[in-house]
Symmetry: C2
Subunit: 414 residues, 2 copies
């Protein structure tokens, strides 16, 4: 039986309220819970210090589970453990096993343990110590009975994401599952699309998804991409997936969380092909995205950032007269860029972009946001297409890089 | 007289708790308030709907000022206005001026107003309407007396950043200033540094900053960069700045919020020089950062992404034997890359990087994270340096791009 669980999230840290650090825990934990069919009821941020205790009191009063991040460090303003014990009137003791783990953490890194780290092994009597393989601060779990009449489970977790995320996965997820009585986690599927916008889904498919029994769905749109989340019974999720694929099969990039550049690199590897890239308006962003993927050096050897006309001529053999006649942002030029990159980059496949990122450089015929994309392949005719993305320089670069990588994906067989 | 103001921030929106949208309002508002010498006491996020009223009640009880974002739209789950009136027992009326503004917004865009937009002109009796030049939702301000015994000022603001930020600046900042009695806003200075870490500040300068009377200071560190915030009386801020510049004058990138790539492009423009870039391990990121800056096409013409050895030979004339003898990640190779980029890119200045981003490719002598950087200039000897950044592929790329851009900045006269 599944019972609804009211989850309170308390993120602590003065830097989060000064705005010098972006609070990303809420979004990460929200997404992770969503995959289990759970959600955060309320998220509160308070500075380090006294406010933590007050906020924990409010969370305990409202929640079935209270998740607290931060404040487990060794310094004087890290008071989360002590505040919790005080709010609940629990005695604190030094946990021997936790102490050993902290000592081992330092020993394995050949660093000396500071005396202040000793307090990180302290815990309210009866709490579970949650192992932290990635840092010195163990987490804590208090089962509901320890909080008396609040009857609220409490998780104290470290703040740094590289410590928090693995601990959440290993220690929090199974306990929340048990608390909520979730045995069959609902199916969760995240489909990533490129070359299609959220509004395309609203024109048709969305209405059909609405009426699938036992399905929840939602979108997340970014420049040039849309994620579709499907959640519900296995049957409902399968039905939804089939329905969506019927309309947008070509545009489906991945169903396993892989981003477009990862999919492109994997396809190139599988097919034993290499890619060359010639960029004008994206200025290196396409190459940078490809090289974000480990192992990309196998499939990507040459990138040409031809930001000036002279560079387009010199590096990839664009004909100067075509630039004069048609302009640097034109179909003939982008085709020559792609073909030049293919030849000079000794590649199986080449993609090229030339456009007007703005804010300057536009005119009536080719306003800011105009871009031509070209793709050249050994043994196939070079293709070009024109797009228009008039939403500012950053969005333009991102959107064009997305379109270019998607062209490569489609050329490799979608 | 300045009185302390307890500011409660309530951000509303189901998408913020599902994690599908990153909550960035907290950081933005936190930073804006910090520049006035104010700070957020608590930040709460709740989903759209009933929870908004409860959270407003808690905020009114604790705060001197309550800032609420989101929920001012025309749809059925946008209930912020109504919830506030209910919590405070105030009557709602349709504000004529607000209605006219909404009608004009639609008229100026030649769109028809939907009937649902009518509710956006409703306001509790006595509230100030806050103009929204960038959207249909006017904001609302309730002076403290309207909240009765709570004696708390309330701001209801739209959620979309392009509507929120200008309204915050124009309508919220002056009212908060009046509420808190702040006449002289404290001086605020953000100094950006490159080529130095936060720990360098802690070894010396930090202790001296601690004892400056009337100064608050704080750090924000990212790969390859540190921001130092100084806040306080004009004298204290000036003294702190002088002190910091004595130790880290070379490393100071900007005092006006400009990021490193903006400073580099500005210096190149001022000096009428052009830059060429040859990248191996950063795979286009340095060029992409330079071309993030509007107008960079004036000073950046050629980028070479030579990810393979063959590309280093072909495009920028690195001698094959030197690659065999010293390895692609070596001082002779990076110097030849920089010199080759200078010549082939017809530039005044060229920067080159070659390194091992990982996870594969390292060995005992040159482990993952090793990088060589080189800089070549017309009429000067080419210089190279070696660095080590073993913190994963993403951080490595960012860190190396930062080091490379900083080298260019220093070559241009710091």
């Amino acid at each position: 039986m599944v019972r609804p669980v009211r989850i309170e999230l308390l993120t602590t840290g003065t830097e989060l309220l000064l705005g010098t650090t972006q609070n990303t825990h809420g979004a990460w934990i929200g997404q992770r819970l969503l995959r289990m069919g759970l959600r955060i009821s309320r998220q509160v941020t308070v500075p380090d210090g006294q406010a933590v205790g007050d906020a924990m009191g409010a969370g305990l009063a409202e929640g079935d589970a209270l998740i607290v991040t931060g404040g487990l460090g060794p310094t004087s303003d890290d008071l989360t453990r002590e505040s919790l014990a005080e709010v609940l009137g629990l005695e604190m003791i030094e946990d021997e096993a936790a102490m050993r783990t902290i000592e081992e953490f330092f020993a394995s890194r050949q660093r000396e343990m500071a005396p202040a780290n000793r307090k990180q092994a302290r815990a309210p009597v009866g709490a579970d110590i949650l192992a932290n393989p990635n840092g010195t601060a163990p987490g804590l779990y208090l089962p509901p009975r320890l909080s008396g009449s609040f009857n609220c489970a409490v998780f104290l977790l470290p703040g740094p994401p590289r410590e928090l995320y693995p601990m959440f996965e290993a220690e929090v997820v199974p306990r929340l599952r048990a608390l909520s009585g979730i045995e069959d986690v609902p199916d969760f599927l995240e489909l990533k699309f490129a070359g299609v916008g959220e509004s395309d889904f609203h024109q048709g498919v969305d209405e059909q998804l609405e009426v699938i029994d036992g399905l929840e769905h939602g979108y997340c749109a970014r420049p040039g991409e849309v994620d579709l989340r499907l959640m519900g019974s296995p049957c409902a999720v399968l039905e939804a997936r089939r329905l969506v694929e019927k309309s947008f099969g070509q545009e489906l990039v991945s169903d396993d969380g892989s981003v477009l550049e990862e999919v492109v690199v994997r396809k190139l590897m599988d097919q034993g092909k290499t890619l060359a890239i010639a960029e004008s308006c994206t200025g290196g962003l396409i190459a940078s995205r490809i090289t974000d993927v480990p192992g990309s050096s196998e499939v990507f050897h040459y990138g040409f950032v031809t930001y000036a006309n002279q560079a387009k001529r010199d590096l990839i053999g664009v004909i100067g007269e075509d630039i004069s006649e048609h302009g640097a942002v034109s179909e003939p030029v982008v085709c020559q860029m792609a073909e030049g990159a293919l030849q000079r980059g000794d590649a199986d496949l080449a993609v090229a972009v030339t456009g007007i990122a703005g804010p300057a450089g536009g005119n009536k015929e080719k306003p800011v946001g105009t871009v031509f994309l070209g793709i050249a392949e050994r043994g196939r005719e070079t293709r070009a297409l024109k797009q228009f993305h008039p939403w500012g320089r950053d969005v333009f670069k991102r959107q064009v890089s997305q379109s270019a990588l998607n062209l490569v994906r489609l050329a490799l067989g979608g």
